[in-house]
Amino acid sequence: MNEPTTDRTSVQPQSTVMRRSGAVVRFAGDSGDGMQITGDQFTTSTALAGNDLATLPDYPAEIRAPAGTLYGVSGFQIRFGSSDVFTPGDSPDVLVAMNPAALRTNLRDLIPGGLLVVNTGAFTQANLDKAGYTSNPLEDGSLAGWNLVALDITKLTLTAVRTVALSTKEAGRCKNFWTLGLMLWVFSRTLDSSIEWIEARFKRRADFAQANILALRAGYAYGETTEFSHVRYEVPPAKVAPGLYRSISGNTALAYGLIAAAQVAGRKLVLGSYPITPATDILHELSKHKALGVVTLQAEDEIAAICSAIGASFGGAIGVTSTSGPGMALKTEALGLAVSTELPLVVLNVQRGGPSTGLPTKTEQADLLQAVHGRNGETPVCVLAASTPANCFEVAYEAVSIALTHMTPVIVLSDGYLANGAEPWRIPSTAELPPIARRELPPVEGFRAFERDPETLARHWVAPGTPGYEHRIGGLEKDATTGHISYDPVNHEKMIHLRAEKVARIARGLPPAKVCVGADQGRLLVVGWGSTYGSIHEAVRRCSQDGLSVSHLHLTHIHPFPPGLGALLQRFERILVPELNLGQLSQLLRSEFLVPTRNFNKVQGKPFHVEELVSAIRTELEN
C-alpha cells in the first residue's frame, strides 16, 4: 500500500472494497506449510485478474529444517498492480505468518500499519521457544503497530474439512488453501483457477482434492462472514500489451530460450550440467523436453559438464552448460578450449553469494569480472546479462544466436533472484522469433578449418560425419587459416588479435546503447546490468517523475559493450553504477571509457530496495 488511492466503492453490503493501484503480499510459514503453493496460486489468480506482477520465493538454505525453527521458514512475496510492476516490492503491505518463526523473521519488513494475518494455532509454547520468543507477541502488545488479524487457521481448517475422512495430519495440511481462500477474498478474486489446479494436482486422490477445495472455500467464506471485519481491496487491471501471457521464472525462461533457439536453428540441444543451487532447475526443466529433442547429461562434475557440451558442439549440436558459483570457477579451463577451437557454446551462470560455497540460496552479481576476465591467457568470450525473469528467454535465445553466428562461447549471467523470481510474459509465437542463419558449407576443395567469414571472422563449423572435410582441432595455438599446430610467433600474435576482434565485432550487430528512462543527456545517468533492472528502473522513474534529471541505462551486452556507449556516458555529468557486488561493472566502464563512475553497492544476498536507490540518486544529485 505504498501508493494508496482514494476511490472507495462498496460492492457488497457487509464489506468495503477499497481500490488500490497495487499491493505487496508476503506469505511466510514453515517449510512444510505449503507457502510456495499458496503463493503460486495467488499469483495465477492475480495474473488472470489482469494485474502486472512480479514474485519472489525465499527458500530456506536447509533442505527441510526441523519444523518451527527460524531457519526453516519459507516465504513467497508477490507484488501486483494496475500499472507496470518491475520488482516484487521492497516491503510487504500484507504479511501472512503461519507460525511464530515466520512472524519473527518477517515482521521487520512489514510496513507500519500493514495487514498482519497470523495463525494462532501454531503459537504453542514449543514453537514460541523455537522462534526465540520469550513472551507471546500476540499477547505482549508488541504487534500494536500493525493491523493484526489473529485467527486459529489450523482449527478453522480442521473444521472445514472434517467431512472428508483424513488423518489430522493430512487435514492440517489443507491450511495453506484455507489461507489462500481468505486472501483471494481480501483481494476480490475468484476461486476458479485454484480449484482447477487442485483438481488437476490431486487427480488420483479425490479425498485430498475435496478437502483442499473445502478449505479454500471456507477461507473465502470466512472473509465474507462478519467475523472478518476488515476492508477488502480491488486492484484494477493493468494496461499491458495484448497477447497470450503466462507466468515465467528466470530459470524456466532460460531453458525455453535455449529450446526455442535450437528449434529455430534446426540443431540438437545438448545440455551438460551438474546440479548446483540456484541453477539446478534449468537442468530439471530441460530434462523434461526430450520430446523436443533436448538431450540432458547430468555429468559427474562441472568440468565434465562443460566438456560434454564442447564435445556436443564439436559434433554439430548446440552445446550448453549451466552452473553457479564454484561450478563456474571449475569451467574456466575448458572454456579456454572452446575459445581456442572457436566452437559455439553457451554457459549459463546463475550467480549466487560468494566467495567459495558462500551463500548458495542468496543472490549476488559478483561473477561479472570473472566472466569477462577469468581465464588464463587472452581468452575473450561474449558476455550477456539477463535483466528480468522473462528477459531470460530473449537473452538465452540471443546467446545461442551469437554463439552460432560468431563461433564463440557466450556466457549468460543470471542470478538467484531472477532464477526463482517470476513475472508475466507475453508468449511469442514461433514466427516472431528472429531467424538464426545457417552458413553454407565452403567448397570441399581446399577447405581450411580456420578460414573466416570476412565480416564476422567466424570460422566454418563442420561436424564429424561430413564427408571430405575431415580435420583436426585442438587447444594448441594454430595456424590462422589451416588450423594446424603453429608455434610461429607472428601467427600467434595474429591469432590473439583475430580472436579478440571476432568477439569485438559482435557489437556491430547490436542495437546502440540507449537509455530506458529519462533524457539521453543530463545530470545523472544510472547504469545497471542484470537483475537490478526492476529496482533501478522503478527508482529512476520515480525520481524522474519528481522532476529530477536522471536517466536509466541498462546493459545486456557486457562484452562487447553496445556501440555508442562511450559517447552516451559522456553526455551525463555524473554516472552512478548500482551493483550487488563491490563495483565490477563500474571497473569495466572506468577502464574502457575513463569515466569517473560512482558506485552504489549492496552485498547482502538480497536485491536492492527501490527506496535505497531513490535515496542514493537523490544524494548524488544533491552533492
Binding site: 495484448p242 526455442a260 523436443l292 568440468i303 566438456c307 564435445g311 556436443a312 554439430g316 560425419g465 585442438g474
Partner: protein, 338 residues
C-alpha cells in the same frame, strides 16, 4: 552404420594425415600409429564417420596423424568430451587416445564415469608408466619407489593397475596389448571396434626417452613366451614356449597358481579355461603378481550391457511432454490480454 564402405576402397594411405609425426625417435607411439593406420581401412567405415579424441600428452598427439575427424582436447577430459560428442551424434565411430597420466591421473574421474555409463566408445590408453610430454615425472602407474625428476628419492605412491581400475568401475570390455605387437594389437582393436559400449584397451608403450625398457621384462623377445599369457575366450590359460605352462585356481586359497600340466600330479584339465564374461576370472588375471606370474594379454573381460547412448536414444523416442515449440511456450495455464 548402415552404409559401410567396401573394405577394399580405403587403404592405409587414406588415413595418413599431412602432419609431420613428432615423437622421439624410437617411441612406441610410432608402432601403435602404424598398426592403427593399417587397421582403420579394414573397419569399412567411411573416414568422415570416424573421430579420434584425445587429451594431452605425447600419446594424445595421435589424432593429428590420422586423416579422420579429430579433437586434441585438454588434459584428462577426453572421455567427457567424447560423451558429449556421442550425445550429439550417435552414428560416429568414436576412438579415444589417452596416456597413463592423462587417463588415470587428472582424468581418472571421467574414465570412471565413462566406463560405468558404458558410453559407446573405444579407449586406447598408452601406458608408458611415465609423464612423457612434461619430460619424465612418475605417473599413477609408475612402480613404487621409482626415481624420476619429481621423485629423486623414489616415489611413495603405490601404483594403480589400469585394467583392475577399469573392472572396478564397472567396465564392460577390458583388454591389454603391446605397442610393437602389431598382430596382437590388431586383433584386440578388432574386438574393441566390435564392442558396443566402452572398450578399454591398455597398451604397454615404451617411452624410449624417459622410461626406456619399462616393459622389457615381458616384452623382450627372449622372455615373451614365458612372461606373456595370451588369453582367448574358451581356451585354457596356457603359455610358455610350447604352451607347457598354465594357471589354475587353487580353490583353497582362492588364488591362481602356475602349473606345468602333467607334472606334480597336475593335468591339462586343471588349467583354468578363460571365460571373458566372468568377472572373477578377469579379477584373478589382473591380480597376478608379475614375474611369479606372466602378464595377461588380450581380451580379459567382455560382456554386453545396454549403452548410455541407447538409453538416451530410447528416452528421446519415448519422451512425452510438448512436441512443438508453441505448445511448450504456452504451458498449461496461459491467459489472454485483449
Amino acid at each position: 552404420m548402415s552404409d559401410l564402405v567396401p573394405q577394399s576402397q580405403l587403404t592405409r594411405k587414406d588415413f595418413v594425415s599431412n602432419q609431420d609425426v613428432r615423437w622421439c625417435p624410437g617411441c612406441g607411439d610410432y608402432a601403435i600409429l602404424n598398426t592403427v593406420q593399417k587397421f582403420l581401412p579394414t573397419l569399412g567405415i567411411p573416414k568422415e564417420r570416424i573421430v579420434w579424441v584425445s587429451g594431452i600428452g605425447c600419446s594424445s598427439r595421435f589424432p593429428y596423424y590420422l586423416e579422420t575427424y579429430g579433437f586434441h582436447t585438454i588434459h584428462g577430459r577426453a572421455p567427457a568430451i567424447a560423451t558429449g560428442l556421442r550425445a550429439a551424434n550417435p552414428e560416429l565411430s568414436l576412438w579415444l587416445v589417452t596416456g597413463d597420466g592423462d587417463g588415470l591421473s587428472i582424468g581418472g574421474n571421467h574414465l570412471l564415469h565413462c566406463l560405468r555409463r558404458n558410453v559407446d566408445l573405444r579407449i586406447l590408453m598408452f601406458n608408458n608408466r611415465i609423464y612423457g610430454l612434461t619430460k619424465g615425472q612418475y605417473s599413477p602407474t609408475s612402480e613404487q619407489g621409482k626415481i624420476t625428476k619429481s621423485s629423486p628419492q623414489g616415489t611413495a605412491d603405490h601404483p594403480v593397475d589400469p585394467a583392475t581400475f577399469a573392472l572396478g568401475c564397472g567396465g564392460t570390455f577390458v583388454a591389454r596389448s603391446i605397442d610393437v605387437a602389431a598382430a596382437h594389437l590388431t586383433s584386440v582393436l578388432e574386438r574393441a571396434a566390435a564392442h558396443r559400449g566402452t572398450a578399454f584397451v591398455e597398451i604397454f608403450q615404451n617411452c624410449s626417452v624417459f622410461n626406456d625398457g619399462a616393459f622389457d621384462s615381458f616384452t623382450d623377445k627372449s622372455l615373451a613366451a614365458e612372461r606373456q599369457l595370451h588369453v582367448q575366450h574358451g581356451a585354457p590359460l596356457r603359455y610358455g614356449k610350447n604352451g607347457e605352462l598354465g594357471v589354475r585356481l587353487n580353490p583353497r586359497i582362492l588364488a591362481l597358481e602356475v602349473i606345468r600340466p602333467g607334472q606334480d600330479g597336475t593335468t591339462d584339465a586343471d588349467v583354468l579355461i578363460h571365460d571373458e564374461t566372468n568377472q572373477t576370472i578377469a579379477h584373478l588375471l589382473t591380480h597376478m603378481p608379475f614375474a611369479e606370474f606372466p602378464v595377461a594379454l588380450g581380451v580379459l573381460y567382455a560382456v554386453e550391457r545396454p549403452t548410455y547412448d541407447q538409453g538416451i536414444a530410447q528416452q528421446l523416442e519415448t519422451a512425452n511432454g510438448p512436441r512443438d515449440l508453441d505448445q511448450l511456450l504456452r504451458g498449461t495455464s496461459p491467459w489472454t490480454v485483449l
